[in-house]
């Protein structure tokens, strides 16, 4: 069997060194090569796809982006690696892993456990059905980023930069101050995950609460009925507010900003 390609992600250098030592020790049981290592989640997103890693040893507590969110973004990759989470002590995370059948190891990691986890990872298909959903359930909060997977590359868009999301046919268009992206998530689940950040103004549209500057009455004419539309910071487009949503949307804008 060829050596298993392993990628290590941990923000603490001694922890990465320890894992490499262990991998070398257990070479007789499971042959591995370390194809990359990162000290932050963002670095993993950038460098892991090109490394063709088969297994990712992933510390769940990392600055910038936690391990579980990172795993969710990696799910979309064509050749997503199997992920073995590593945690020093996080009862909530461990409960979530157990509940959702995700593999994890506790720090300090024992050689035997690592061997077992690697064998399991080698046996299981990396991209198995339902993994994204299980990760979603294991997550403790909303993500910090949306991710767009472009073949074998992941583009991250910070949730805070998104002005509005509009559902069109199969995709959702995600609009930031800088540009537009297409993502393949249902609007409903986005609405549920980021309820405190986005408000639904129309059947097909979520708007960032913080970006709302005011409302305009559109006179209508011809086929079009008169209706309200929402004015967003830095957006020229008209985003109609449906009559059903209007009472809820109206209350988002605090007094004095109209």
């Amino acid at each position: 069997m060829s050596a298993l390609r392993v990628y290590i992600a941990d923000d603490e250098a001694p922890a990465r060194a320890r894992l490499k030592e262990l991998l070398a020790d257990i070479g007789g049981d499971v042959a591995t090569t370390v194809v990359g290592e990162s000290a932050s989640g963002l670095d993993v997103v950038e460098r892991l796809p090109a490394s063709a890693a088969q297994v990712l040893l992933l510390d769940i507590q990392m600055p910038g982006m936690g391990g579980i969110e990172l795993a969710r973004h990696l799910c979309g990759l064509e050749s997503a690696p199997a992920i073995i989470f590593i945690t020093a002590h996080d009862r909530h995370a461990v409960e979530a892993f157990e509940l959702n059948a995700l593999d994890y190891l506790m720090k300090p990691v024992r050689a035997e456990r690592l061997v077992a986890a690697l064998r399991k990872a080698r046996a299981a298909p990396a991209v198995e059905a339902g993994r994204a959903a299980r990760l979603e359930r294991a997550a403790s909060g909303a993500r910090e980023f949306f991710s767009i997977v472009d073949r074998n590359r992941i583009v991250l868009v910070p949730v805070g930069e998104v002005l509005f999301l509009k559902a069109e046919l199969k995709y959702v268009t995600l609009r930031t101050g800088a540009g537009e992206y297409l993502i393949e998530e249902p609007l409903v689940s986005i609405e549920r995950e980021f309820a405190d950040r986005f408000v639904r103004v129309h059947r097909n549209c979520l708007v960032a609460r913080a970006a709302i500057r005011g409302f305009e009455r559109i006179a209508g004419g011809g086929e079009e009925e008169p209706h309200w539309s929402v004015v967003l910071e830095g957006v020229d487009e008209h985003l109609p507010v449906s009559r059903r949503m209007w009472p809820a949307v109206k209350s988002v804008l605090p007094e004095g900003r109209e």
Partner: protein, 334 residues
């Protein structure tokens, strides 16, 4: 530092040889009589008269009871709380009955009525003393202190052990040093949280702690120490600073991707000791790293238990820095 170790169980009778207890009993009984007079008399002057007349009747048995209880205190202590209470009531009833007989025709009411009233008053006073003991029990203060004593995060322990494991082969000497540091840290953590320690010892403890964190976090942690004018002989509660430094690193350095600067400054100004700990401020993201305020509230309460109103703990965010300021009285070694 008043010792808080003598430890009467809250289930014990009050110490009748304690002046405070005697004073409380006298005040309580007289207050009850005053309230009773207030209830029956519509007029202020009449009320005072009534009170004085009644005082003349209940004061003798009251004082006699207190004197006898003073004498009997060691003997009473041999009984359980409830039997003790019954004995106290029996003493009261005996003196009340005796007074009633002595007063003869001046007695206010029938003997049974007077005895019931005396027993009820005694029960009320005993209940009050019991509550008082419970509320101010040294055992309770001690339990609170122990519960409040800083507890290191398991996260830190396991990550540190992991870091030591990584050192054993590459740098055995540093591994040894780190284990020694960990041992010192845990010795302090498991020690008596009710004692005062020298500032010099607390400083050396947090330096050891910082050395372990430095090993884990490497360049990401940049410590600056301003300790030149620290009064090393000042006494302060054990483990006051370590949890604050742990907080600073856990909330200020670990969540950041860049270099985190942490400042520790300790100085003496007149008869006060000022401690400042500063770290980078990260707005708490959703669902991450809660618990900051619990540690701070803990320390605030410990300061209160040790120094009462004389200590201050303030926190604030200025720019992108989070800051904790402590101001405690300077107390040299006793």
């Amino acid at each position: 530092m008043p010792s808080i170790r003598q430890n009467p169980s809250p289930e014990a009778l009050p110490d009748f040889r304690n002046l405070g207890v005697t004073a409380r009993v006298l005040i309580a009984v007289n207050l009850l009589a005053l309230v009773a007079a207030l209830v029956v008399e519509p007029d202020w002057n009449a009320m005072l008269d009534t009170f004085v007349i009644r005082a003349a009747r209940f004061e003798p048995p009251l004082v006699a009871t207190l004197v006898l209880l003073y004498a009997l205190a060691p003997w009473l202590r041999r009984f359980s709380y409830w039997i003790g209470c019954l004995l106290v009531i029996a003493v009261v009833l005996a003196f009340t009955a005796a007074t009633h007989v002595l007063l003869g025709e001046f007695a206010p009411a029938g003997l049974p009525r007077t005895l019931v009233l005396a027993a009820a008053c005694t029960a009320v006073v005993l209940a009050y003393l019991r509550l008082h003991i419970k509320a101010h029990s040294p055992a309770l203060a001690e339990a609170r202190l122990q519960a409040l004593q800083a507890r290191i995060r398991p996260h830190f322990l396991f990550n540190s052990l992991n870091a030591v494991l990584s050192l054993i082969r590459r740098d055995p000497q540093r591994a040894e040093r780190t284990l020694e540091d960990l041992a010192d840290l845990f010795r302090a953590l498991m020690s008596d949280g009710r004692s005062l320690v020298r500032l010099a010892d607390e400083i050396s403890l947090i330096e050891r702690y910082a050395a372990i964190e430095q090993l884990r976090l490497g360049d990401r942690l940049r410590m600056s120490w301003e300790l030149d004018s620290a009064p090393v002989d000042a006494m302060l509660p054990a483990l006051l600073l370590q949890p604050l430094l742990e907080n600073a690193i856990y909330h200020g350095v670990e969540p950041g991707t860049g270099i985190g600067d942490v400042l520790v400054r300790i100085e003496r100004r007149g008869d006060r000791v000022f401690v400042r700990i500063e770290n980078p401020w990260h707005a708490p993201a959703a669902g991450t790293r809660p618990g900051n305020h619990m540690a701070l509230d803990n320390i605030r309460e410990r300061l209160m238990l040790f120094f009462d109103d004389e200590a201050r703990l303030q926190t604030g965010v200025e720019g992108n820095r989070f800051r904790v300021d402590i101001d405690i009285p300077y107390r040299g070694r006793a």
